[in-house]
């Protein structure tokens, strides 16, 4: 248990009495990737937002989230701010709208570098160029605005921003959903190369089992706020014990057998 970087224990989130996440436990081991998979509305993103304390005030959160020595749920907003962007970084689904349209990408990367702790602009500038190189954006595009970039390039910028302060944990909330298949593949490769180089831990949220299979060490399958199955990736994908996981795996499109109807599992309420 000492190797776990992030330990979500007995976490429940509800909105005005409606339960969104129900007593879940998730571990992210140091330097490893834990993936949360599930259909939309299963509580994946809510879990990720709860880790960073980004849920709206109307949400009731109980349980505990331990990151290193800190209990994230009991931290004040001010202390939480020192962790956000510095120790835990996050990548969103929508790269195009997550960047501020009125600043150049260079300015936006520099800002994160200079936030934690304050650094001179020259140091920040050098670091920005390094990061751009790492994520594969030519140096001369540093003064470009987000609207001049494609979705894939924006996501590269988002990754650069996330990596800027060498975080210990990276939360990727469906980072490839808004991208096409080819770009998605490149982004995933980029993300994991960066992760390996830094020995970061990662909480990877996706509904794409193919992506998850290639990158995750552990998988948690979520459905309607519950974790229906969790374990090592190979075990979960090859010998799923839960009916829902089996159905989810059977929904994968295949070249060989065309299915007329996708398998479904009735929800027990």
């Amino acid at each position: 248990m000492t190797t776990s970087q992030l330990h979500i224990h007995n976490l429940s989130v509800s909105f005005q009495g409606q339960s969104a996440v129900h007593h879940i436990d998730i571990y992210v081991e140091k330097g490893k990737t834990t993936a949360i998979v599930g259909e939309s509305g299963s509580g994946k993103s809510v879990t990720a937002l709860a880790v960073l304390g980004l849920l709206p005030k109307s949400a009731t959160v109980t349980g505990e989230i331990r990151f290193e020595q800190d209990q994230l749920l009991s931290l004040t907003e001010k202390n939480l701010r020192h962790i956000r962007g510095k120790k835990i970084a996050m990548i969103f689904q929508e790269p195009m709208t997550s960047l501020n349209p009125v600043f150049t990408i260079g300015e936006q990367i520099e800002e994160v570098i200079r936030m934690h702790p304050r650094k001179s602009s020259r140091v920040a500038r050098t670091k920005t160029l390094q990061l751009l190189q790492e994520v594969g954006i030519p140096k001369n595009r540093v003064h470009a605005y987000p609207h001049e970039f494609s979705g894939g390039m924006c996501q590269r910028v988002m990754i650069a921003i996330a990596l800027a302060n060498e975080p210990l944990l990276l939360i990727a909330d469906e980072p490839t959903t808004a991208l096409d298949a080819t770009t998605s593949k490149q982004i995933i490769a980029l993300l994991f190369a960066a992760k390996q180089r830094r020995n970061m831990s990662m909480l990877f949220i996706s509904h794409d089992l193919r992506v998850v299979a290639s990158v995750a060490d552990n998988i948690c399958v979520m459905r309607s706020g519950h974790i229906v199955e969790s374990g090592k990736t190979a075990r979960v994908l090859q010998q799923p014990t839960n009916e829902y996981t089996r159905a989810l795996l059977a929904c994968q499109p295949s070249m060989h057998n065309r299915q007329k109807r996708l398998p479904t599992v009735p929800m027990e309420l």
Binding site: F92, L99, N100, P101, V102, E111, H116, Y145, H147
Partner: protein, 313 residues
């Protein structure tokens, strides 16, 4: 030279020329400041380059024999030079317009931003206040405020005439300012609400930016385009309401000139017997050209602050 540089040079030259004219118009002559200098011999003369009647020719010859006399824009019924009055009137009108717009944009932006950021009950209360103020006739309010300020002025006799002039102008611009912030606050509130819902604002929280810095460094720059546009739209409106009020006789009053009361004077001199067009034409031309330039300037500024158009420049 690029187009932008040319525009800049023209603007700077124009401003310098105006400053020179202003200094000339406000300069002291043997009988007071030039724009107030009356001369019965020179009353109601057309611009010197314009056609003169025989009577007027003798008048002008006499004037030019005495001193170096020339009236580019003609003279009014007291023999005051219309050019110098238009220049001083312009300074007052544009000054009132700019400051009133500044007050309106400042108050409106503050009000709208607070309402937009806080949301909920505070937002509702603040916006209902705006709705109520919207319901009141704004010209009525301006009239009340200026009249109140002037009556307070009249009660105290110890105030110097220069300060009286100043307070008169101040009351007018504050009055115009506090009735025209309503639209700005509505627009800014809407803009703030839509901006804070964007993922990029949530991204600020994610990277550990505090609420104050989020506002000053992320929200405000995005708002700037809207603010600039509204500021440049408010300036002409304020100039126009100043002109309107002075035209009615409640704004800037004689002997202080403004484009509004100059035009009003001119109109009273316009009759089928004598067309003393120069008294009406010049102030109106000044107002019209200023409004056009202001709108054009607004467009220029908007393009400058909008990243979508910056790269094409």
């Amino acid at each position: 030279m690029t187009k932008a540089a040319k525009i800049r040079v023209v603007c700077v030259m124009f401003v310098l020329m105006y400053i020179a004219l202003f200094c000339w118009a406000i300069a002291n002559t043997e009988s007071g400041r030039r724009f107030e200098q009356t001369n019965v011999q020179a009353a109601l003369l057309p611009p010197t380059w314009w056609v003169h009647s025989e009577e007027q020719i003798t008048q002008v010859t006499e004037l030019q024999r005495v001193g170096n006399w020339y009236a580019w824009f003609g003279t009014d019924q007291l023999g005051r030079d219309v050019l110098s009055r238009c220049v001083i009137g312009g300074a007052i009108s544009i000054g009132v317009g700019l400051f009133a717009a500044f007050i309106a944009v400042f108050v409106g932006t503050g009000w709208g931003t607070i309402a937009g950021l806080r949301g909920g009950k505070i937002d509702a209360a603040m916006m209902r206040t705006v709705d109520i103020l919207y319901g009141l006739p704004s010209i009525m309010l301006v009239v009340l405020i200026t009249v109140a300020a002037n009556s307070i002025m009249n009660q105290s006799d110890s105030i110097s005439p220069l300060l009286q002039e100043f307070v008169q102008v101040l009351a007018l611009l504050v009055a115009i300012g506090i009735v025209s912030w309503l639209t700005v606050s509505r627009v800014i509130r809407g803009q703030v609400r839509s901006l804070i819902a964007r993922p990029s604002m949530e991204a600020c929280t994610v990277i550990g930016v505090g609420p104050i810095r989020t506002f000053t460094h992320h929200l405000f720059p995005a708002l700037l385009g809207t603010i600039v546009v509204y500021a440049t739209l408010t300036v002409p409106t304020a100039i126009l309401s100043e002109a309107f009020l002075s035209f009615l006789g409640i704004g800037i009053r004689e002997p202080l000139p403004s484009w509004g009361n100059l035009a009003s004077d001119g109109l009273s001199q316009l009759n089928p017997v004598h067309s003393r067009w120069w008294l009406l034409f010049w102030p109106c031309l000044c107002i019209a050209s200023t409004l056009v330039v202001m709108n054009w300037l607004g467009q220029l500024l908007r393009n400058k602050v909008n990243p979508l158009t910056v790269i094409n420049a």
